[in-house]
């Protein structure tokens, strides 16, 4: 009898060992890492002082917004609207390469296809392997762009400014130290100071060594799992190979040349444009609601409501149609106004009624 027992031993032992291994690895990864104690202000200072601009890494994005699943092989009519929604709602693996401010490449990996965005100096390429199309844009000369005023601040001052701005509406604290992509990280937790928002908390993992943000998680009210989670699964701070950025579209691809509207010098004017169109923000902080009057939305809205996805996504509520997701609600009123915010639909209806 004992001999039979011995021979079945491996069949029991192997799954047991695998089970132990599977359970132990996440535990180890989740274990609090030993990092020097810091205050939230010091971690913010670390982020502001980060000067990492060469890295290559893989990002995992997962979203659980409570939106209906968008069929990935949608009809052509759904078009770009569906594309944008798909990026928001689906789970993605994205490889990111960056070499200084003027060379970067982002690869969104889909099954059997890939979307690429390559910036090399003033050349910007978009390539989609699913339909084998490439788009080329020439960016305005970076030297002409005004340097951002933030450059004048020291990291410490930036951290102070940020804290002063967010403190009335947000509680900034530190969570337990974690490990992201094998690196020790501090966890900044931003918690809204109001209950009138759908956001429960925003968590930002900050690399203890370089100050680079390694991951962001947004958790909705009453949810156990984050609604949006983006985090590095692997990261290297070495400069990526230079030929990654030298992109030539494949000979068989359909190439479109597009030009950016010339915005140099008009940068300040875009804002008044938006304001004169009548877009207003009601409230400040987390429960703010963006209100777009009927005449401003115009043709764009008509196009959107004509899309077959529109009726699939929205549901009829008092005074219009609404989309409510875990983190955001949008209300299109019957008279054509659009209201959006990270708030419950009831608040949008209340604002619309005002």
């Amino acid at each position: 009898m004992s001999r039979t027992w011995v021979k079945w031993m491996p069949a029991v032992a192997v799954p047991a060992v695998i089970a132990v291994g599977v359970l132990a690895v996440p535990l180890q990864a989740g274990a609090a890492t030993d990092l020097p104690e810091k205050t939230p202000r010091e971690v913010l200072e670390l982020v502001a002082g980060s000067d990492v601009d060469t890295f290559s890494g893989t990002l995992e994005q997962s979203s659980d917004l409570g939106l209906p699943e968008i069929p990935s092989t949608g009809d052509a009519q759904a078009g770009e609207f569906a594309d944008a929604l798909e990026l928001l709602t689906g789970d993605h693996t994205v490889r990111v390469y960056r070499n200084g401010a003027d060379q970067s490449r982002v690869q969104v990996q889909d099954t059997m296809s890939e979307r690429n965005l390559i910036q090399n100096g003033s050349d910007l390429w978009l390539y989609d392997s699913a339909d084998n199309t490439a788009t080329h844009l020439t960016l305005p000369d970076a030297a002409g762009a005004p340097t951002s005023p933030e450059k004048a601040y020291t990291p410490g001052e930036l951290a102070d400014t940020f804290l002063a701005e967010v403190t009335p509406t947000t509680i900034v604290s530190l969570g337990e130290n974690t490990e992201v992509a094998g690196r020790g990280a501090y966890e900044l937790v931003l918690t809204p100071n109001t209950t009138d928002t759908l956001v429960d908390s925003v968590t930002i993992a900050v690399d203890a060594e370089s100050g680079l943000p390694l991951g962001v998680q947004v958790t909705a009210q009453d949810a156990a799992e984050p609604a949006i989670s983006v985090a590095f699964t692997s990261l290297s701070l070495d400069a990526p190979s230079a030929d990654l950025f030298a992109f030539t579209p494949p000979a068989s691809a359909t190439v479109t040349e597009e030009t950016l509207p010339d915005t140099t010098g008009h940068a300040d004017k875009t804002r008044p444009d938006v304001e004169s169109s009548g877009v207003t923000v009601v409230g400040t902080g987390w429960d703010a609601v963006v209100l777009m009057p009927a005449d401003a939305s115009g043709a764009g809205l008509a196009e959107l409501t004509a899309s077959p996805l529109y009726s699939q996504l929205t549901e009829a509520v008092d005074g219009g149609r609404a989309v409510s997701t875990a983190l955001m609600s949008v209300l299109v009123t019957d008279d054509g106004r659009v209201l959006a915010g990270s708030v419950p639909v009831e608040r949008l209806q209340a604002v619309a009624a005002e």
Binding site: K7, A11, T111, E114, A251, S252, A253
Partner: protein, 303 residues
Amino acid sequence: MSDNTTAASPGVTGAVIAPDQGPEPRVMVRAGGAWALLVSELTVLFRRRRTWALLLALAAVPVLIAVAVRLSSQDPTPGRGPPFLDQVTQNGLFVAVTGLIVSIPLFLPLTVGVVAGDTIAGEAALGTLRYLLVAPAGRVWLLVVKFIGAAVFCLAATVTVVTAGVLAGLALFPIGPLTLLSGDTISLAESFLRALLIAGYVTVSLLGLSAIGLFFSTLTVVPVGAMAATIVLSVVAQVLDSLPQLEWLHPWLFSHYWLDFADLLRQPVDFSSFGANALLQGGYLLVFGALAYGRFLTKDILS
């Protein structure tokens, strides 16, 4: 199962029962030793007409695709039909990739299921199993040899699809530098290297299924039963993999990474799915190898 047969098992005790000088020439060859057993297993496998019929059927898949695309009046449109089909007219090498994509869900598991399910049960059905165990190498080695045979068949099957695809592409379409998913173009030499990598990936992908087939094969003396069970399981795994409600289960299904060989067509090559797949298949290999070990070493060999 019972004690007396286990004790009599030559594989465990090392005792050699007087060799039965049967009429089977195959057994004579195999009596030579451990390596001779492996050589003979492979020779027998690749001398069988059935093996060649399976490989021929696999080779027909990419050839059919190539001929169909060549004969059709209009080029395939992107986004319709299997992935990469629209690329075939521009570069014949994609015939091999499309052939693999089409073969992976059914044809490859089917042929591997037939070979792996037949390993032990086939010998038992033919009445040759006990002769094989006469060799001093023993039951464990026989299991290992049988698994190696199935693994070599996985490699042969994958290489057949890739080679037939490349040859059909070469004959019917222009062949040149290959466009990767990332939009980068690589030289012909490097594209053959990628094709080899993909063949390796798909071979590794099928090892878990081979181990499952081997285990099923130790359970029965009816080879068709083991084959059918293996093939059915591969279909069930793929069905489960397509249900979003079972998302937690997906990374544990042996078929989960089957189509992720496309990661080898990115620039730079993404080996993460290769690693994850190898780890998963290794796990299946260990678990079902251990189950097959337990079953085969405690089994009454009556035929």
